[in-house]
Symmetry: C2
Subunit: 225 residues, 2 copies
DNA sequence: GTCTATAATGAGATAGAC
DNA sequence: GTCTATCTCATTATAGAC
């Protein structure tokens, strides 16, 4: 369904691919249209011709893969729900595994895409584009998480989902912390190992939320602060 | 020990503060030296006079608060260890709570600082500066986490720490996901509630790592993929 | 659709007076 | 330490030929 090594045929795709690569490496403002068209092997004017503005090019970069990613996640979730009542781990798996699969086997573009997403900042540009493309699917997964802890209020499922997204996105950010801090014993690029650790990690975390909600501040009070 | 609302007295500090604010909002490349000196209320040339290059200004912005943060974290950790054998929750508390306290009560600069850290990308600029300022303290916390799970290899403590850092940093990033996805029921700016949920969340997650290491890929195989 | 050329602006950094 | 003025180069975007 995805065509990893296929070289871009149209100049439009070439620009899109180059923009994705460079945005992921240096951020939106760290890259000029000249850099992008240079890497794409097309002339400067092609960027404006196809996309008008740099802002719009960025938007298209995010949008292009968002749909495929959402589709994969929802397909996994629906398959799960048809098979019966899923466990928390299964729901997290349905959310995280497509990210892993596409990032590692979907071609270099997908890896760049995941690193790019991890650079989202608090500014309007990011807030709008992420909300527009990901919130709807996010709500489906929050509902599925909530179904695994039906006695808890939905707000706790939201909190668990948001914490999980932060953890996952950071794991795909391309920071080499894991390698560095382990002195090379662990490999930050072994995303499979990270995902396999992360899913039970997050599931266990989410399961603590109902009780930590009740005894709120326990850790804080224990330190007398 | 920190003086939140004190206005900067020197032009050097004014530039540093303005740079911190603007970098946090728009990222390194999203801000010009003119923007910074403009907000600081000083002339353009003062930036070069005090800091030489923009790169160096950025470095100083990160460095300035890194020391205070590391000191607070280490003090909390040492106090803990003097009091006996700490629980995993206590170690995480010692790591996260200074971040929370400074971010919410250390003045606007600290809040900006935490948002800025969350924008770290995979590029050299970030990797170098974060490694230089934070790796040493990170190793102390990894050791403390490892002491809570002594039968597991240290690599698992590293993995738990790295996942935890990602979760924490994302929680302080200023993305308003929690508010948006909960329809306003939860408040993304209530960092206290987030920290109080996060600490047991992460502790539970770390405790799963030894077992998920042994039965690696269980969730994956269950889905037959 | 693709190119050259250029317009219009903004960037980082510095020289040199005070 | 602080200022004005400026150098030099890169930036986004567009006009208009082919």
């Amino acid at each position: 369904m995805t065509h990893p090594p296929e070289p871009p045929v149209t100049s439009r795709q070439a620009v899109l691919d180059a923009a994705e690569t460079l945005f992921a490496e240096h951020g939106y403002d760290g890259v000029s249209i000249r850099d992008i068209t240079g890497l794409a092997g097309v002339r400067l004017a092609m960027a404006s011709y196809h996309f008008g503005s740099k802002e719009n090019l960025f938007d298209q970069v995010i949008a292009r893969r968002a749909e495929a990613l959402n589709r994969a996640r929802r397909a996994a979730l629906e398959a799960l729900q048809r098979a019966g009542k899923p466990e928390l781990e299964d729901v997290l798996h349905a959310f995280i595994w497509p990210y892993f699969t596409l990032s590692t086997q979907g071609g270099a573009g997908w890896a760049s895409y995941c690193r790019l997403i991890a650079q989202s900042g608090p500014g309007d540009r990011w807030r709008d584009v992420l909300s527009r493309h990901f919130d709807e699917t996010a709500q489906m997964f929050i509902t599925a998480i909530h179904a695994c802890m039906p006695r808890a209020p939905r707000a706790l499922a939201v909190r668990g989902f948001v914490l999980s997204v932060g953890t996952m996105v950071s794991a795909f950010s391309g920071n080499r912390r894991l390698t560095r801090l382990s002195g090379g014993e662990l490999d930050a690029e072994d995303l499979r190992a990270t995902c396999e650790a992360m899913i039970p990690f997050l599931a266990a975390g989410i399961r603590t939320l109902p009780s930590s909600g009740r005894k709120a501040g326990a850790a804080a009070r224990r330190k007398g602060k």
